[in-house]
Amino acid sequence: MPGVRLVQVSKGFGRIRAVDRVSLEVQDGEYVCILGPTGSGKTTLLRLIAGLVEPDEGEVYIGNRLVNQYPPEERDAVYVPQRYALFPHITVLENVAFGSTAKGVDREEAFENSRRTLELVRLGWRADAFPEELSGGMQQRVALARGLASGAKLLLLDEPLGALDARLRVELRDKLRKLVKEQGLTAFHVTHDQEEALTVADRIIVLREGRVQQQGTPFHVYRRPENLFVANFVGGTNFLEGVVAGREREGSYIRLRGDLQVQVQDISYLVDETVVVAVREEKTLIKADVDEEPNTLSGEVKAVRFLGCFTRYEVGLENGDTVASRVPTYTLEKTFTAGSRVKVGFHPVDAMVYPYPSLGLLKEVEVS
């Protein structure tokens, strides 16, 4: 029942267009992550669905109902803000029962139901506590229980893990997804953390400046970003500017600055067209010895970052470009230090090619 459909929805604040002609369709029971940088319109999109702001144009459907004219209390869509907005003057149990009692459900029945919901999030023992007495993680679970107990089937989670410390975020994001799935809810989860989105979502919608850049499964968005912005925002990527030097059946040749040349599998670009080659950092290999494989470029290690299970090398190429290579630490046959001469390369099949953007590469991938 609570699938959500947005048709050409726009919302502006003064001269800023926070949401710009967004259309999307989310199925009942789907867990959707809205991913985008600060100011991309994620929260506004969520508030449009909740009915907390009215669209300037377009239609919002929840289930089969056109809800543009419905006030928030009649949409059955619970909004959970980043700081949870637990009511500080009433107990945890009263917070959880708020939705039911506000709708006129008998108090006893509402409280009984709320106790059961609190057990579900394993907080039954804190029913009589006040919100300020709970840890951040517990407050998040109470906010979820409050949404569940209200009977709503659509959860609108605005950065639900944003107020928690890094370790707790990782722990709770899996539990959050599990709970939503077990209860058969539809969830919109707003985040700017790509790792969080990739981990919990059935589907990711990437937003930028109020517009949908791409939507699809996490795997699809990661492996096949539709534009340079998505390629940069979701996962670490190297960008190399060049011109198509030749096309053959097995691939194209791209001439980079300094007369370097690489081969890519994509043959959809014409000769002399200016393009950008994008390669994921983990697909960029780094070696010490000379290699006759295609796409091997010489360079010097400029910086080494140890990231625990990964090590990230920044390599300055002979043409002045810089590429990064992210290598699982335990697979490294040899470690390099700053100043080491190395070879970096990638397989043609791992290179993604995009037309050179009219406003320049930096502007295109800019996050804020």
Partner: protein, 540 residues
């Protein structure tokens, strides 16, 4: 879930409530405050034909602003160190000083005027120490001393509030960068709390401009500022001068408030050059102790003692039989108790009207219901009743309501007191509602709560102490009000107005009766504020 809760989901119903409150504000508060004077603009010509009268009127206006400016500046200079002492000294006397600083708040200004008069200008006061009859005779100096005393707690309260919320880390950062404590305060803290300093100055300025009853008691026969001139003109039936001075006071006050607000935001405090040697000296423990000592001395001599002095003759009144006579309601006391009843009755009605009519406007301001520009405008207009000197406001209201027909005097009084106190309630409530996160209300609605349900169960419980303290503030302010009451009253006299007559000798009473009458007013005000304190303390 009641019918009203369900109705509140209807946007038209909500708009109707907001529109009604807005119309009430515009038609019954704002327009009468400004329009009354304009209705009588033709009579202003009278002043221009009489140079002597014109000279008096101009001098009164200049004195009003001069006194207000000087007193507010001195209050700021004396109040800032005391606020600092209360928040930062860590002395075990802090709680005592903190409570004592509120005393001029507790005492109605009319009573404070009488108390100051007794302290500075009567043979039984401080004059005895100097062997003179009146150390400071009634006149401009006494008016300034009085205004200094009653504006002082306003300054201290605002700055204490600001300093409590100020993050000391800025100051610590400055010190770790090598600044002396005095330098850190001067160049970092004071510029950061500048908005509060400007607000405190404005409040003291407005309070000084508005004060009427107490000023009348200490002005003496010669000195005239705006309110004193207006009172004399009213008594003499001179409508032209009355309108002229009221008009100038209203326009000049609004302009000055707007100017200070505008410049205050842009003005940079002159931090000047740092003199390490001098500022190190001023940061030393001995210098700080000397500063605290002088601050407390000023507070005791110029604020505390004159405010409390009335209790001395009141004690005599308990012994010489005046108290028994007062309780029995004989002689002048019959009229006194009627006036007290009238004051408190008007206070209750004005408070109730303000709660009903002010709350929606407070929500409109706090929640930006009219959009940014219109809400800012409404926010500014709500301040008009406190920007305008209350006696000038009273004159305007009196003309406005009388022009509309023969509205009973009691209603004119109630409307005047509602107007005078409206800003206090709306301001207090708007701040309280702003303090409740809008996200909380929004979340409550997405959980199924109708707007009225959310207000009843979330917003109101979280702001109920502000509603209560706002109501007590309105009530005590209404009971204390003298200026507007003097301007609009014909037959009916509220307690402060009656006491002004007693002190000025319009009604022949003994010194004991005067002191006891004033003390009754002080006592009842004190009880109201005591309830407020207890409630607020209960909250903590």
């Amino acid at each position: 879930m009641g019918f009203l809760d369900t109705l509140s989901s209807n946007p038209n119903a909500r708009q109707t409530v907001y529109a009604s409150a807005f119309i009430f504000f515009t038609a019954l508060i704002l327009l009468p405050s400004m329009l009354g004077i304009f209705l009588k603009r033709e009579s202003i010509g009278e002043v221009f034909t009489d140079p002597a009268l014109m000279g008096r009127a101009q001098s009164a206006i200049v004195w009003s602003f001069t006194v207000a400016f000087l007193v507010s500046t001195l209050d700021l200079l004396a109040g800032l160190p005391l606020a600092w002492f209360i928040v930062r000294s860590g002395s075990r006397w802090v709680n005592v000083v903190d409570t004592l600083a509120d005393i001029p708040f507790i005492i109605p200004t009319a009573a404070l005027g009488f108390s100051s008069f007794l302290f500075w200008s009567s043979p039984g006061g401080i004059s005895t120490l100097f062997g003179v009859e009146a150390l400071i005779p009634p006149g401009v100096i006494l008016v300034m001393l009085l205004h200094f005393a009653f504006s002082f707690p306003v300054i201290v309260r605002v700055i204490v509030g600001e300093l409590l919320g100020y993050k000391e880390t800025y100051e610590i950062a400055a010190k770790t960068l090598g600044a002396q404590p005095f330098t850190a305060v001067r160049t970092v803290t004071l510029p950061i709390i500048k908005p509060a300093l400007v607000a405190a100055f404005l409040l003291a300025f407005g309070r000084s401009l508005s004060e009427t009853g107490a000023t009348l008691m200490v002005a003496g026969p010669v000195f005239e500022n705006g309110p004193v001139f207006i009172k004399k003109a009213k008594d003499a039936g001179l409508e032209g001068p009355l309108v002229f001075v009221s008009f100038i006071l209203i326009v000049a006050s609004v302009l000055i408030f707007a100017l200070i607000r505008f410049l205050g935001a842009r003005l940079r405090l002159p931090t000047g050059r740092v003199s390490p040697f001098l500022e190190r000296g001023l940061s030393r423990t001995r210098s700080v102790a000397a500063r605290d000592g002088v601050t407390l001395l000023i507070f005791i001599i110029f604020v505390l003692a004159p405010s409390l002095f009335v209790s001395l003759p009141a004690t005599y009144a308990l012994l010489d039989g005046t108290f028994t006579e007062a309780v029995s309601g004989r002689g002048v006391w019959g009229g006194f108790w009627q006036s007290m009843l009238l004051s408190y009755g008007i206070g209750v009605v004005a408070t109730l009207i303000n709660i009903v009519a002010g709350l929606p406007v407070a929500i409109m301001i706090a929640r930006n219901k009219l959009g940014k520009t219109s809400t800012t405008l409404l926010d500014m207009l709500v301040n008009v009743p406190i920007m305008v000197p209350s006696v000038a406001l009273g004159v305007s209201l009196s003309f406005f309501w009388n022009a509309l027909g023969s509205l009973p005097e009691l209603w004119v009084l109630i409307l005047s007191h509602t107007t005078i106190t409206y800003t206090y309630f709306v301001r207090a409530m708007a701040a309280a509602v702003e303090g409740v996160s809008a996200e909380m209300e929004e979340t409550a609605r997405t959980l199924g709560g109708r707007p009225l349900t959310v207000f009843r169960r979330i917003t109101l419980p979280l702001t109920k102490y502000s509603v209560f303290s706002g109501a007590v503030l309105v009530f005590t302010r209404s009971v204390d009000e003298t200026g507007a009451a003097i301007a609009v009253s014909r037959q009916l006299k509220t307690a402060p107005v009656l006491l002004v007559d007693w002190v000025k000798g319009v009604v022949p009473v003994t010194a004991s009766e005067r002191a006891l009458g004033v003390s009754f007013l002080v006592l009842t005000s004190f009880l109201s504020l005591l309830i407020l304190r207890l409630v607020i303390r209960g909250k903590r």
